[in-house]
């Protein structure tokens, strides 16, 4: 639930605002560089979240919050979720000619309606996603070519269900097995853990990766990473959302669900020079996220910020065509031009999403939206001081990371001053459209 609700409960809005950090989601196409950007914003010279993999990497919404010492907090899904997955996979395999589903295993563990939902899932168009989730959990790779019957067997082993002699079963990672059993024991409220995070320690890092991007993301409801960052200390919480736009990707469901159901006060769109993608727009419109954000819009406190990545690459391209301008000058020019492009696109998106809001307001919103070209990889390089790599942009300030950081800080600071009064006069029905 977004700020829209705060307005409704105006009585304690101020107190909520002063103690809770401002929560901002980071949304963009898979592979556009959201995680790299967040690493640069929060970790500065340290790489916190796993980035640079192939395929969509981030599998769970990952909350970055302020903490005195680095820590990892995990909240797992209740065991029913895992049983549902297993039950659906069994049906999927049985439908493809595999062995019969052992219904008796699930009668106690799942309600009739849960079983029905799982069966429906196994025959729906998105059944491919089921297999991906199962493969990720059991084999560690959603796109592996492991036969479904072996995945099914492996899944049963993980969930401590009997496996017949000769029934093929893929072997899961021992740590996944261990965690899976813990989740099963924790019961309906789910398992919660919090531990110190030491990124220099290989095991600690692997644990983080396994939950954010690896097999355990399937069992995880929420991953939080606490970090002693100045930016976060200013009263911010940043949520790295799985990228959208990759075909048949299980992760983007997480993003859509989050956009629809979670509480957040703003969004950072991350896009490349193509601008706002149809997949991002689709996720926004479907989740009705924009309606809620726009309801609290004001010039002083924009709830949308656009960060444009990979312009450093484009700047290099242009530099090759025009030797008389330096790459950094090209980068600055591109940033300028991009602002116009993005605002036009954003206006279009807003118009399609919010058909009842007067266009003048949408224009004003689009034109007041900060568009910041960022060069996160260069920023990391400038901090990292690696002799093998030469950054394209040669000064920290020109990477624009400090600028983005400043915009976010201002948002957080504004938040502390804001009271519960509505700043934009919109029709009441708009406010009622915010997600419930």
């Amino acid at each position: 639930m977004v700020a829209g609700r705060e307005q409704g409960s105006s009585g304690n809005a101020t107190s909520v605002a002063s103690c809770e950090p401002l929560r901002i989601g980071v949304l963009g196409d898979a592979g556009v560089g959201k995680t790299t950007l967040l690493n640069a914003l929060v970790g500065e010279e340290r790489t916190i979240l796993p980035a640079g993999g192939v395929g969509p990497v981030t599998g769970r919404a990952t909350r970055l919050y302020h903490a005195q010492a680095p820590c990892l907090s995990l909240k797992y899904l209740p065991p029913q979720h895992a049983y549902e997955l297993c039950y659906a996979v069994e049906h999927l395999d049985a439908a493809g000619g595999g062995r019969r589903v052992r219904e008796s295993d699930y009668r106690e563990r799942l309600s009739e309606s849960q079983r029905e939902a799982a069966r429906a899932m196994a025959t729906s168009a998105s059944r491919g996603l089921l297999a991906k989730d199962a493969r990720l959990l059991v084999v560690g790779d959603p796109d592996s070519s492991e036969p479904l019957e072996r995945v099914r067997g492996g899944l049963r082993v993980l969930l401590d269900l009997a496996v017949a002699a000769g029934e093929p079963a893929a072997d899961a990672d021992p740590f996944v097995l261990f965690r899976c059993r813990q989740v099963l024991r924790a019961g309906a409220q789910g398992l919660k853990t919090e531990q110190l995070l030491d990124l220099a320690d290989e095991a600690s890092r692997e644990r983080l990766d396994a939950h954010v991007a690896g097999p355990l993301s399937v069992l995880t409801e929420e991953v939080g990473v606490g970090w002693p960052s100045n930016l976060l200390a200013s009263g911010l919480e940043l949520v790295d959302l799985p990228g959208v736009g990759v075909a048949f990707d299980a992760h983007q469901r997480v993003t859509r669900r989050w956009l629809r159901g979670a509480r957040y006060n703003g969004l950072v769109f991350v896009c490349s020079r193509g601008g706002i993608s149809s997949s991002c727009e689709g996720a926004l419109i479907e989740s009705e996220a924009l309606a809620a954000l726009v309801a609290t819009w004001s010039q002083k406190r924009p709830s949308i910020v656009v960060a444009v990545t990979k312009l450093d690459d484009e700047a290099q391209q242009l530099r090759r065509q025009q030797r008389d301008r330096s790459t950094r000058a090209q980068f600055a020019d591109l940033g300028q031009a991009m602002t116009g492009v993005i605002r036009t696109q954003l206006f279009g998106t807003l118009r399609r999403a919010l058909t009842t809001v007067p266009e003048a307001i949408l224009h004003a919103i689009a034109n007041a939206t900060p568009v910041i070209p960022v060069a996160a990889p260069d920023y990391l390089l400038l901090h990292g001081n690696d002799p093998e790599l030469t950054p394209v942009i040669s000064s920290i300030s020109e990477t624009n990371l400090p600028r983005l950081s400043a915009v976010l800080r201002t948002l957080a600071a504004e938040r502390h001053r804001v009271t519960g009064t509505s700043e934009v006069d919109l029709e009441p029905r708009l406010a009622s459209r915010s997600p419930r």
Partner: protein, 815 residues
């Protein structure tokens, strides 16, 4: 055309055609047709092979193409903001570089200007203006076009209570917004410039030779753009293209190309062709850069869609490390590319199709990894990432092909799995870095490459694979050309030998001939009977394949289609009723937050099983039957030849063997029956079905609306129900069309088969005649003078025959 084919065709035209006309006139049309086919195949083999590049906007298609084609020159515009490529640009080989632009029609430009002027008039709000504006355009745009455009531009401004109406209107005003951008680009070369609409309109009027209306004059800095536009209009009016040589020595050699590809003229371009002296392209390869997909409300999507639709046989899917995007998958599915890819892999007789995947910016990932793991160099990370990407991309594509869901149809379902396996086994994935390659070329202090050499960027490997693909297709086409030419040569050769032998064979005494003939007739009597039975069986089974069975097969296909369609409309129940309402109003098509396109989807759903059935149930069986019959013919004739051999030297058994070989040659030709008809069928079925489906849907929707069932209580359920009913209505509606089309096709194939069998009307009689001519034939050939002349002609024709390629080889088909 290769030399041998040419020699064979020349030989036919120069020596043989007249002989065929004189001695076997019934076969003339057949040989004429076959030689025509050789020329056609030769033309195809000589054509360049086009390979399209498809990917999301800004993923780096143009950069990759540049790196492939021109190395360090930046040929195609790359590295700007927003989606850059607005039209398909093809790059082909040329010794001296050039580019050629086809412009949009003048009318298209008028449309844009008129619609914008209507909008402007409405902005100013004077009613009288609307009338005078109308007058300006009399004779320029026809009345209907004006009407529609005016309504669209007016509508975009009207605000109404019903939000779904608002959506419909906004989608048209989106178009106006885009048009305004185009006008800006045309006049000021900057689509985000601050120029006011009246200025843009007057500038465009100036360019088009119409008097100005808004009291503006063209600014000096825009004059060059207007001049360019004026030239473009003049050319398009004259039906000409713009062609310019690229002078590499010149200061800004590519400036004019830039004006076209991404500058002020971009909105005017319909097609852009670039010729470039690239080694890669020299073998007859053309690369096509398609506009990127995946940008919200992108108007260039259609261009891309059209290209992929139109018989694209090879495609490079350009993706980044995240993998294959929704937008690309949607396009490849909707345009039928995936489907065609699978069908082509399933039917070895059809032309092959290919899919390549290029993963761009792999160097970025490598650098990110280097940041966390300094024990390896960037180049080592690069090869790690590259190795991981290959199975990942194969896995992603497997899921997409699996999800195509032709599996609801049993016939294709059985094979689909196998076929997908085959397609994936042939899929080539190239993790590349075009920017690294360019850095290596550029050797710039400002940007040092992280990879050691050109080869390690994998771009050259991709280039080689594409060139090899083009080469193999050309070879295949050339192989088919050669095969057909040889077949023609062999058949002609047999015919000549046969005719010659007949003319030489008149020396026998009349009584002797009579005796032999009687003995022969006795011997062949049972063979004739057998032949009659075989023929009867053949006719019966062809007939069985025909009309009745087609009706059944169509039913089967429609059952599968219904299943597919149901599946498609099932989720509609969860859609917002406004979305459904908009779709129902627009005849089943709605492109809003949800994309609904019932005519396309339904036509697809019907087409796929129909074509599958045609290929597997009808054509395949017909091919088997005809080949069997032809082989039986050859066997029977062989028996006649055996008898002739037993009679000793007095008979030329060779002659009969010639005949048998001729039949074998025919049998081989029969294997090709229907090969060209599958693709043809797909095209026609699609077109006809689409029309039938659309009309069913729009009439049903119209009726539904006229009954006001789309409004008020229960509207959503009504509409969901309507969708269900549409499934059956469509299946019923296309039934007749499908039957008619398949029957027609069947008739065509049958005719083709008959044509082949015509010259084998009476193979045994012909063989008998070859052994011992009937009396009247002998009479005809007894004129010594004429005989001498004929034999001489025949001998000289045979002497001129291009040499045999070797004995018949039945095994080298399509390998």
């Amino acid at each position: 055309m290769n030399d041998r084919s040419k020699a064979i065709l020349d030989w036919y035209q120069g020596h043989v055609r007249a002989i065929v006309e004189e001695h076997s006139p019934e076969r003339l049309s057949e040989f004429d047709r076959e030689s025509q086919r050789v020329s056609e195949l030769a033309t195809r083999a000589a054509e360049t092979v086009s390979i399209c590049f498809l990917g999301n906007a800004a993923v780096g298609k143009s950069t990759l193409l540049n790196a492939l084609v021109s190395g360090k020159d930046v040929l195609l515009p790359a590295g700007g903001v927003g989606p850059l490529t607005a039209q398909a640009t093809s790059v082909e080989f040329a010794e001296s570089p050039f580019f050629e632009a086809n412009y949009q029609s003048k009318e298209k430009l008028w449309n844009v200007v008129f619609a914008l002027e209507c909008m402007q008039v409405a902005n100013v709000g004077k009613h009288a203006d609307a009338e005078t504006l109308e007058k300006d355009y009399v004779g320029v745009l026809d009345k209907n076009a004006r009407e529609t455009l005016r309504l669209e531009s007016d509508d975009s401004r009207v605000r109404v209570e019903d939000p779904s109406d608002e959506r419909v209107r906004r989608s048209s005003s989106q178009k106006l917004l885009e048009w305004e951008k185009q006008a800006r680009l045309l006049v000021t070369a900057n689509q985000d410039s601050a120029a006011e609409l009246p200025y843009l309109l007057d500038a465009l009027r100036t360019a088009m030779g119409m008097k100005t209306r808004w009291g503006m004059t063209v600014h000096a800095e825009d004059e060059a753009n207007i001049e360019r536009l004026r030239n473009a209009i003049a050319l398009t009016e004259a039906g000409k293209t713009f062609r310019a040589a690229i002078d590499l020595e010149a200061q800004d050699a590519l400036a004019e190309l830039k004006h076209h590809a991404s500058g002020s003229l971009a909105p005017m371009i319909a097609k852009l062709r670039v010729g470039w002296p690239a080694e890669l392209l020299a073998g007859g390869l053309t690369l096509v850069d398609l506009p990127g997909v995946g940008i919200a409300s992108d108007v260039h999507k259609e261009v891309t869609h059209d290209w992929i639709n139109a018989n694209t046989r090879a495609l490079v899917l350009v993706v980044d490390r995240a993998g294959v995007t929704e937008s690309c998958t949607r396009l490849l599915t909707e345009s039928g590319f995936f489907q065609r890819l699978l069908t082509a892999a399933d039917d070895p007789a059809s032309d092959p199709m290919s899919l390549f995947v290029a993963v761009t910016r792999v160097d970025d990932v490598a650098r990110t990894r280097r940041h966390t793991d300094k024990t390896k160099r960037v180049r080592e990370h690069f090869s790690d990432v590259a190795a991981e990407l290959v199975p990942r991309m194969q896995g992603q594509l497997r899921q997409q092909l699996d999800a195509l869901d032709v599996s609801s149809h049993e016939l294709t379902g059985q094979r689909q799995h196998e076929v997908i396996k085959r397609v994936l086994a042939e899929l080539q994935v190239f993790p590349v870095s075009a920017t690294e390659l360019q850095k290596i070329y550029a050797d710039d202090e400002d940007a040092k490459p992280d990879l050691p050499d050109k080869e390690s960027t994998n771009v050259p490997a991709l280039g080689r694979a594409l060139a090899a693909q083009a080469q193999s297709w050309k070879q295949r086409a050339a192989g088919r050309e050669a095969e057909t030419a040889d077949n023609v040569r062999d058949r002609l050769h047999s015919l000549l030998k046969l005719t010659l032998a007949q003319w030489q064979d008149v020396n026998r005494a009349e009584e002797e001939a009579l005796r032999l003939r009687t003995a022969l007739d006795v011997h062949v009597a049972p063979l004739r009977e057998e032949l009659a039975t075989l023929r009867g069986e053949f006719r019966a089974s062809v007939k069985a394949m025909g009309s009745q069975s087609i009706d059944l097969l169509v039913e089967e296909a429609l059952t599968a289609a219904r299943k597919d369609m149901r599946k498609h409309v099932k989720p509609f129940r969860g859609y917002h009723y406004k979305t459904l309402q908009a779709a129902v109003r627009a005849g089943g098509v709605w492109d809003g937050a949800r994309q609904i396109n019932l005519p396309d989807k339904f036509a697809d759903a019907c087409e796929q099983p129909l074509v599958a059935i045609w290929g597997t149930q009808i054509l395949e069986r017909l091919r088997v039957e005809t080949r069997d019959l032809a082989n039986h013919y050859a066997r029977l004739v062989e028996k006649v030849a055996d008898w002739a051999g037993e009679q000793g030297a007095q008979i030329q058994a060779d002659l009969v063997r010639q005949q048998r070989d001729a039949i074998r040659a025919e049998a081989k030709a029969l294997e090709r029956v229907g090969r060209d008809i599958v693709d043809d069928l797909r095209e026609k079925v699609r077109k006809e079905l689409h029309a039938a489906v659309s009309s069913v849907i729009s009439s049903r929707c119209g009726q539904f609306i006229s009954e006001h069932r789309h409004e008020g209580r229960g509207a959503r359920d009504n509409m969901a129900e309507l969708c269900d009913q549409l499934v059956d209505a469509v299946a019923d509606g296309v039934r007749a069309k499908a039957r008619e089309r398949l029957k027609k096709n069947f008739e065509n194939v049958e005719a083709e088969v008959k044509q082949h069998f015509r010259q084998m009307e009476d193979p045994i009689g012909a063989a008998s005649d070859a052994i011992v001519a009937r009396h009247e034939q002998r009479q005809k050939r007894s004129d010594a003078q004429r005989r001498k002349r004929v034999i001489e002609t025949l001998e000289s024709a045979l002497a001129a025959c291009p040499p045999d390629r070797g004995s018949f080889d039945f095994g080298d088909e399509d390998t």
